[in-house]
Point group: C2
Chain length 228, copies 2
């Protein structure tokens, strides 16, 4: 497992953020049980703040809490990924429609800026984590003005779940290039306020990401290996 033994003290929310990042990034094996004592050392924190962070993550859906048996990283299940991707498509479709109607000039400016940062971050090796950040921020900004805080909350939650699969999946440069192109097209259609086209493209974008993310599932990997 990771070698990062943080000696410096962290605040509670920093601990939560670090754990969340490591979970989405797949730094703990799916299905694995978390050893609390080991985590305590890894993050250099006491028991109480650690357990509180784990409880929050369990409520968020990034951990499973078993009766008196500690915390477990959820398994990566093909059926659940399909559910997550399907719902993402529908919810982000809703949000985009509203965002295109509500977004103002300031939003357009921010969208261009976010897209620019995303493009710059792409293709730079060793900067993967930075690209992930820019990518998340781009998609977040796109839907931001939709007007529903709860819808955005659920979309974010699904996005985090989805990323757990996507980051685990083997890279696919062909699809990745297509996805990158779509980001630019999304910006154009958003600026043009072309609701049906933008929505169709966003749904296609998620479908394509879904295709990549499937590579993270046990079932699919086995199937691929059997073929090869």
């Amino acid at each position: 497992m990771g070698a990062e033994v943080a000696t410096a003290n962290m605040t509670a929310s920093q601990l939560y953020a670090a754990l969340k990042r490591d979970l989405i990034d797949g730094r703990f094996a799916a299905g694995q049980k978390l050893a609390i004592t080991a985590l305590r050392q890894r993050y250099g924190v006491g028991l109480s703040p650690l357990r509180e962070a784990l409880n929050r993550l369990a409520a968020y859906g990034l951990l499973e809490q078993e009766n008196q048996r500690g915390f477990r990283v959820p398994a990566l299940k093909r059926a659940e990924l399909d559910d997550i991707a399907d719902l993402r498509r529908r919810l982000e479709g809703l949000a985009l429609t509203q965002a295109l109607q509500a977004g103002g000039d300031e939003w357009e400016a921010g969208l261009l800026a976010a897209f620019h940062r995303l493009k710059r971050a792409d293709g730079t090796p060793g900067q993967l984590e930075h690209w992930e950040q820019m990518h998340l921020q781009f998609h977040r900004h796109l839907l931001e003005p939709c007007g529903s805080a709860w819808l955005l909350r659920f979309i974010e939650q699904l996005h985090d779940q989805f990323d757990r699969y996507r980051r685990m999946a083997p890279a696919n440069d062909t699809i990745r290039e297509r996805l990158n192109v779509q980001h630019g097209q999304l910006v154009e259609l958003a600026m043009a306020r072309d609701v049906p086209a933008a929505r169709a493209l966003l749904e296609e974008h998620i479908r394509l990401s879904h295709e990549v993310a499937r590579g993270a599932c046990q079932e699919d990997r086995t199937r691929v290996e059997e073929r090869g």
Copy 2:
């Protein structure tokens, strides 16, 4: 505040359930800061399990966690209720469509049973909490076979949020009677697999509940008092 000082020990999940129930039931004033020491006594538990439950509830959205300033009951805001109700309508609409396509014989049987229990529970004074349970179970059962665990999860979360408003609102017997009638009509349309009609009715049902729940918001109450 409540007089219930539980002497018997509770498990962690019982404590979570009790706190959640009390929050949805409005037993803590909206906007109020929770005094941890008082809660410790009220539920008869130690600090650690209590804080863990509060953290979970904050992640769920039934509490707000401020930096190093403890936990606060979220205020009841008109705009947020509108958001919650609007999203409920859309998400439950989606789920119902799928549920009507997927639900089998066993589901139909269960739906009739749930409706029967709901009817029996109605109008019995002093059994309000029991009616609330049956009501929740009825709506849950209606959407159950929709096939998306995440959609059901979000719907449940929104339902809990919505109920915090509805239970706080003054009773309205006229509307309540109409809502009760709609439950029966929903069962009929569901059994007939009439997707468009069932969906329209469910959305109307939520719209009507929304009207009731609005009575919980400060702004609306003031407006009513000014008129009277």
